[in-house]
Symmetry: C2
């Protein structure tokens, strides 16, 4: 795929913003492999599909023949939280960072081509940097521009403390682009400011400034538009079991399905548009969703596992068609969780908890198609499934603690 326009279309798919497109076009036109940088946290990785949006984009660059640099920001990780305020951010040892890097590799090589991926650690250059070099680095940026960053701006205006080293971290991240001679840096939309710092620093150090490509933040699989994240319990981890993945992917609504296709599938946009036409012509959206789930489970497990998960899913729901349009209930169960019968009542599936106990006893209650026997079982925040009572009562239920 040497045609620049074709490459550009491939690269811009799903992208939120590219600065500057014209520069990217020129870089591509040279025909030389570009150096594509993306930075990752050095803490123990447990990637979910949200993270893979960026990694997929790296893969696309690989497919176009470019060099992809998976940069682990271990320098700051080894410092930890220097204010000492956060017990959750102890400094990482070199051994821990190496272990985390291995875990990263196990996960990202499900998407990236190991032969075309360079893993770098920024401690390589940062640990050689003297305090005088750090002063020089800090001289390349101004306080006012740093305070323009959204989160700094908010904290400063609301009187929340910003420690001065927090101004140095974006500079370190930006300096990585100088050290790596990055042609393009990828990041989430929320990283745009930091990616721009990289661009500015490359210019300040007399290098060619990088092109910036930001990818949107993927929403979680639940009904809300919150971004996919562990803390919101709306994520699909890439090491989750095929069945879990399948169930969660099947629970997304149709609109979100197209978003997932665009950002997570490697199918061409033409093919995806074909699916849309299929549905317009009467195809069951469930069957299209099957294709998404199949592709993703194949990627992170294998084709056989994907097939088995689908068969299992169909079997569980075989006795009764799941309605296309079922109510969705988000229930706050606090940090203690809630017994199943109460959840059934809150979801409007039974008239009382004693009604609930009776229905479970009769074998009429199913979670994701599987019959349940213990009416008192506690369901916790983060639980998300299709609850069914009898043949016709359905609800998609999400439990939270907020």
């Amino acid at each position: 795929m040497t045609d620049v326009q074709e490459a550009l279309e491939f690269i811009t798919r799903g992208a939120d913003e590219i600065l500057l497109l014209e520069e990217l076009r020129k870089k591509l036109a040279t025909g030389k492999p570009l150096r594509i940088k993306a930075g990752f946290d050095p803490t123990a990785p447990d990637l979910h599909l949200g993270h893979t949006v960026l990694i997929n984009k790296m893969r696309q660059f690989q497919d176009l023949g470019h060099d992809v640099i998976f940069l682990i920001g271990d320098f700051t990780g080894m410092i930890g939280d220097p204010t000492g305020k956060s017990a959750t951010r102890p400094p990482l040892t070199e051994t821990e960072i190496q272990e985390n890097a291995k875990t990263y590799q196990q996960q990202i090589y499900k998407i990236l081509d190991p032969d075309k991926t360079v893993i770098e650690f920024n401690s390589k250059w940062m640990s050689k940097m003297s305090s005088a070099d750090m002063v020089r680095l800090a001289s390349k940026h101004t306080v006012a521009r740093m305070l323009e960053r959204d989160d700094f701006d908010k904290r400063y205006k609301s009187g929340q403390a910003i420690a001065i080293h927090e101004f140095l971290y974006p500079l370190v991240q930006g300096y990585d682009s100088v050290a790596l001679d990055a042609d393009v840096e990828l990041g989430g939309t929320d990283q745009k400011f930091n990616l721009l710092v990289g661009r500015q620093l490359q210019e300040a150090y007399g290098k060619k400034p990088q092109v910036i490509l930001t990818m949107p933040i993927l929403e979680g699989y639940t009904a809300s538009d919150d971004k996919m994240s562990k803390s919101l319990d709306n994520y699909i981890g890439i090491t989750e079991s095929p069945d879990e993945m399948f169930g969660k992917l099947m629970s997304i609504d149709d609109e979100k399905m197209w978003r997932y296709f665009e950002l997570l599938s490697f199918r061409s946009l033409d093919e995806i548009n074909g699916f849309k036409q299929d549905i317009d012509q009467g195809a069951n959206p469930r069957d299209i969703k099957f294709k998404l789930a199949e592709e993703i489970i194949t990627r992170f497990h294998n084709a056989k596992a994907a097939e088995a998960a689908q068969t299992d899913f169909i079997n569980r729901f075989s006795n009764n068609a799941i309605p296309d349009d079922m109510p969705e209930r988000e229930i706050n169960v606090g940090s203690e969780g809630m017994p199943l019968v109460n959840v059934l009542k809150e979801a409007g599936l039974v008239s009382s908890t004693s009604d609930g106990h009776r229905m479970v006893k009769q074998g009429a209650v199913r979670i994701d198609g599987e019959r349940v026997e213990d009416s008192k079982q506690i369901l916790n925040s983060g639980f998300s499934a299709i609850l069914q009572v009898g043949k016709r009562k359905f609800a998609r239920v999400i439990l939270s603690d907020r």
Copy 2:
């Protein structure tokens, strides 16, 4: 002098502010020699009396038996101006810094006791500091507190750029107190913020916080209350000739004389109060000023030179009593300077330049009591002297370029 109260009175003489006096009392009460820090610029020193206010205070601590550390901030000097904007701040080499240190020694040992003075360079610890240590150091202070510093506050509010490394310099200066285990840091009033940073950093690094003692800024010898500085051309350099020193010191007004006595003289306050009484009882202020000039010239040259300068001064003015109250004229002569006759006219001493030429020719014009022969000589900005035409016309003239 072991009595704490007596020592405190000695120390507080002329001081602008002490934080915290109570802590200083306790430190003194231990009876152990305290570590007194004062920081100096590593650029080529050419000290004037304004600088010596601080050095005199160091000397007083020495006289009380304490250890005085003359700290040369060469770490930042070796970085120069990292923004590259100022051609006047090129990085200093190690050789240059050593040379400057020698020049410092030649000058400060006119006041300090070499045997009780330790000269330190902050590059000793700063050059060993890694970039990670610098990040940790930066974590000890907040952006908001740094922006409270007067000059930063003004610049930020008026939209003038503050480079981020400018936030690191006060931290480096403060860290010097950590590295030195300073008990007391001395500085000019304008250094108060930075001295406080040192105090805070010592606490952050688990050390005993230093007491801060600020000294006022000495005014220049001209009629204005501007601080003594080279750029304002109102300074008395400690390497100036005895005659120059004498002339400049004699030109200060009476009020400033007492200020100079308090901050520059090592005479006791009792003795100085005695001089005040002498004047009240009819003594000529000129004779008291003689004592000030004598002490200062003796300090930086020797007693013989002081005596000679005084004799010379008296001889020059012997034929005519200088009026106590003569007009003072500040004349802007631009960067080109101005011929003597024009200066005479501007000062109102002659009616026209041709009148001026004639008076010079007649030998009626004197500069600081010395007859002049060249009416066309150019007087430049910075020139300051008593001009005299005939027996009765006097003016104290100061030339500036602004």
